[in-house]
């Protein structure tokens, strides 16, 4: 209860601000319409109208919630208007991209930790890769892959992987280097090879770091998948919903797609968090 109260207060404040902003921002259109029709408007008329426009500048919260409800629970999941359908399209690209990004990130980290040349050369490139705006890179990836005949899921997954490999590299390098000098010396007293030290010491030690990175990585993957849907003029996926929404001024559709993406991100991060807790607890590393 003591924790719920501040959270609820903040949520209530945001909702209040949101409603106020919706009234203020949508009122212009309401007044214009009324002027054209030559009608006088009372305050309550303005309030009612700004809450229920079809294409508001800023949809009111309940409009977004209603749209979310209508396009999830009340549509068949195979329908083109179902957010579950679009969500799944984005989710599948996210998961594939996350798998590729995590795999690549772990492999790069292993290389960096075990090979001096890679240690010196890979990290600067990895950092440079993240300083290039993804919006600039995404269309190029799509175009290049398209010319190779690769379309649909894979290009989006690659953009998604491009964003998610970086936190995994950083976290894994730190994790694989986390065993202290004493633990490494212990392995040396057994005459252990690099491979044995890796499997028996470095890899298990890196697990807490890996999971922290995975939480960031999966959220980044989702962003990547959505961004990957924007430049293709795709008609399926949450990114496509945002894009078509903006073509036709369907602000309610944009906002509901936005919230669907946020909810999806929260669920994905939550799932990774649960896996983290279960795994580390089983490994006795959950301090």
């Amino acid at each position: 209860m003591s924790r719920a109260l501040p959270v609820l207060t903040v949520v209530a404040a945001i909702l209040a601000l949101w409603y106020a902003a919706a009234v203020w921002m949508n009122a212009t259109w309401t007044r214009d319409q009324a002027e054209r029709a030559g009608v006088e408007l009372s305050v309550s008329d303005i309030l009612t109208d700004t809450m229920a426009q079809e294409r508001p500048v800023l949809p009111a919260p309940h409009q977004v919630v209603t749209e979310l409800w209508n396009t999830t629970a009340r549509k068949k999941v195979t329908s083109k208007r179902s957010l579950v359908f679009h969500g799944w399209i984005t989710l599948s690209a996210t998961l594939l991209g996350f798998a590729i990004g995590t795999g690549a990130g772990i492999l790069l980290a292993i290389g960096i930790v075990h090979n001096r040349a890679m240690d010196m050369s890979v990290m600067p490139w990895a950092i440079a890769s993240q300083t290039i705006p993804i919006l600039a890179i995404a269309p190029m990836i799509i175009v290049v892959l398209n010319s190779l005949g690769i379309q649909g899921l894979v290009p989006k997954a690659i953009i998604s992987a491009y964003l998610s490999f970086f936190p995994v590299v950083v976290g894994m390098v730190k994790g694989l280097r986390s065993p202290d000098a004493m633990q490494l010396d212990l392995m040396r007293t057994y005459n252990a090879s690099g491979r044995e030290s890796f499997w028996k010491l470095r890899l298990p030690s890196s697990m807490p770091y890996l999971f922290t990175s995975l939480k960031i990585g999966i959220a980044a993957s989702l962003v990547g998948a959505i961004v990957g849907e924007l430049p293709t003029g795709a008609i399926r996926g949450l990114g496509a919903r945002m894009l078509t929404g903006s073509y036709y001024g369907q602000t309610i559709q944009i906002w509901s797609a936005l919230f669907a993406a946020a909810i999806l991100a929260a669920c994905l991060v939550g799932i990774v968090g649960v896996l983290q807790r279960v795994t580390l607890k089983r490994m006795g590393m959950d301090q």
Partner: protein, 260 residues
């Protein structure tokens, strides 16, 4: 003890090159350790006790002089699994059970599954931890964890046991108990033990030979062969012989300090 020494150091030097200039961690160290001896290294911080143990274990390499372990270089001796090393912290892997931790060196050294089980059982008995094989480290007290780490060092049956302040982090009562157990274990296994400590009573109680060291440069100032019998109940610490040895160790430490 007239057989060939297990460890023989002659005029051993080790200088660390640091940004603040060279540090003479060991200088002109001569020492022979015979089979089955229990040798304690005592001296103030920084006198090179850890460094000497690490040289024996081939974790550091001397910059001068010679050292042999079982008649070989330390590196060769390690490949022949000549020693088990116990660090100050137990350093058990939290993700492995006690039995799993003891199996770690056995897996690396390629013992068969059946032999691993057999050895785990034996060493757990040796350190008085029977029935704790399935527990995780966090379920054990500090003293029990340190015993498990000794079991891990014993598991592959090296005939030298190197221990660097293994009980330094434990309280006095636990320490007394572990000292007693260590002596019993030494008597049963006839291993050669190199033991670093800060404590004069601990050194005198455990050792057949006490090596007193002093710092800057790290060197040996006295080697005392203990007149105490190998059989040692805890109350031997109140006998005149014990106190006399302790007195000589203290004198040796004081003499080392006079150089400062």
């Amino acid at each position: 003890m007239t057989q060939t020494p297990v460890i023989q150091a002659q005029n051993l030097d080790l200088t660390f090159q640091t940004n603040d200039g060279p540090i003479h961690a060991l200088k002109g160290v001569d020492l022979e350790i015979g089979k089955g001896e229990f040798v304690s290294f005592i001296g103030p911080s920084g006198c090179g006790k850890t460094t000497f143990l690490r040289v024996i274990a081939a974790l550091e390499h001397p910059t001068g002089g010679t050292i042999t372990v079982n008649g070989m270089t330390p590196d060769e001796a390690r490949q022949k699994r000549a020693y088990g090393y116990v660090f100050q912290a137990a350093g058990l892997y939290p993700w492995r059970t006690i039995a799993g931790n003891i199996k770690l060196p056995l897996e690396i050294m390629g013992f068969s599954r059946a032999e691993q089980e057999e050895r785990v059982k034996n060493v757990l008995q040796l350190v008085d931890l029977e029935g704790f094989g399935g527990k995780f480290p966090w379920q054990l007290s500090g003293g029990m964890q340190q015993r498990a780490s000794i079991a891990r060092a014993l598991a592959f049956d090296a005939d030298i046991l190197l221990m660097d302040e293994p009980f330094g982090a434990l309280d006095e009562i636990v320490r007394d108990h572990l000292n007693e157990q260590l002596l019993a274990l030494w008597a049963r296994t006839e291993k050669t033990i190199g033991f670093v400590t800060h404590s004069i009573p601990e050194a005198v109680y455990l050792s057949t030979k006490i090596v007193v060291m002093s710092p800057r440069p790290g060197r040996i100032t006295d080697v005392i062969d203990s007149p105490l019998p190998r059989e040692r109940p805890l109350d031997i610490r109140d006998t005149p012989e014990f106190l006399e040895v302790a007195h000589r160790v203290r004198e040796g430490l004081r003499a080392g300090h006079a150089y400062d």
